[in-house]
Amino acid sequence: MSSEWPLWEVFIRGQHGLNHRHVGSLHAVDAEHALRNARDVYTRRHEGLSIWVARASDIVASSPTDDGPRFAPDDARIYPHPTLRDEAGTP
């Protein structure tokens, strides 16, 4: 009989002032259970000040096949990057 609990992704804020970061996943029946398990599995050594859990099935991700065009540095659009470059592309 398979009645596997749903999968949750776990995000932890390690220190004041930092973003929550993905640390791993776990199985739990509901959100409350997922939070409790996350505490035991991922913060046994005070690694976190705050935990987020999200059902893995609710996360929308870009598909890897899109990665090329979507994330390739766009050479024509240098202005969003913090270093100012001249037209030759040298900083």
Binding site: S25, V29, D30, V41, R44, R45, P64
Partner: protein
């Protein structure tokens, strides 16, 4: 190692590869990490499932020999340390199961394969922990050997596995230290305690050497795994490193390594040592070690005894969800 017998074929030569395979290998050669949803050769995926699965199962079954002593730890402090250590091992198993699941296998399938004997766990956990000194030997030698293997795997090519290894390695050094501390207290204790420490070393030395898997001469097909960077060092390289690190520690403790061939070799700047009994190793892997039936029996029993609880939690969650929906 924790995955002792993961065989792959010989490494494919570039001209035998498809375009896609060549691009994949080039990414690995550049040191890029492979992530779950990206294209990978089927054999890479299957090998990793076996390797990470065996590794996860080893962490989980590895709780049993130590769990055996939690209620009998000699002091409250030792008991607290051992509890924390065993809890860590459960955590390691969970990190690794999750990493394996990113490759498209479910937790239930993994557990079913462990319970049916289709998937293995490390041979080392089929040896009994007969005395309290064995708990020291396990931390010192078994966790020590595990670290040798896991540190390089932090740089392996599969992202989720590498990241799980980073977390695990942070915790392993505590495991090894508490074991060394425990056995050093006994080695410097009463003559009876020292004898227990020596006896533990005698029994755990060769099984620890077996943890690295068969000798490189024994046709271990790991060339493909090394090309894919899911295996970083050969079995013999790691075994040598382990011996070179551990022998001086044993000397320092005044304990004798049970090997009359053990000698420092100035030319290779490393120790010469006897290989373990490989017949025994294969017997243990086949299921005929001293504790195989016990260990697997305990795992299956824990899983079956917990079924009512898992079902209860799931039923409660479904009921609460239903009530919430009705209220909306």
């Amino acid at each position: 190692m924790y995955a002792q017998l993961v065989k792959t074929s010989r490494a494919k030569a570039p001209e035998e590869m498809s375009e896609q395979e060549r691009a994949f290998q080039a990414r690995i050669d550049r040191g890029e990490k492979i992530e779950p949803k990206e294209w990978m050769p089927e054999e890479y995926r299957r090998t990793l499932i076996r390797q990470i699965g065996q590794h996860a199962h080893s962490e989980i079954v590895g709780q049993l020999p130590e769990g055996n002593w939690i209620t009998r730890a000699p002091t409250l402090q030792r008991k607290a340390i051992l509890l924390a250590k065993v809890q860590d091992e459960a955590g390691h198993g969970l990190y690794l199961y999750c990493a394996a699941e990113t490759l498209g296998i479910s937790r239930d399938e993994l557990i079913a394969m462990l319970h049916s004997g289709k998937m293995k766990y490390s041979s080392i956990f089929n040896y009994p922990t007969l005395t309290w000194a064995d708990i020291g030997a396990v931390g010192w030698l078994v966790d020590g050997a595990a670290i040798m293997n896991q540190v390089p795997l932090q740089r392996c090519s599969y992202g989720p596995y590498a990241r799980a290894m980073v977390r695990i390695c942070k915790e392993e050094s505590f495991h090894q230290r508490q074991g060394y501390d425990l056995i050093s207290k006994m080695a410097r204790g009463t003559p009876e305690q020292k004898a227990m420490a020596q006896d533990a070393l005698n029994r755990f030395w060769y099984p620890s050497l077996m943890m690295f898997g068969p000798s490189d001469k024994e046709s271990v097909h790991s060339a493909q795994s090394m090309a894919w960077r899911i295996k970083i060092n050969t079995n013999d390289e790691l075994r040598q490193k382990f011996v070179d690190q551990t022998v001086p520690q044993a000397h320092y403790l005044g304990l004798t390594v049970p090997d009359d061939k053990l000698a420092w070799n100035e030319d290779k700047r490393a120790y010469d040592f006897s290989e373990p009994d490989w017949e025994e190793f294969y017997a243990v892997v086949r299921g005929d070690g001293p504790c195989n039936r016990d260990r697997l029996g305990a795992r299956v029993k824990a899983w079956e005894d917990g079924a009512w609880f898992r079902d209860g939690l799931a039923a409660h969650a479904a009921k609460t969800r239903g009530a919430k929906m009705a209220a909306e």
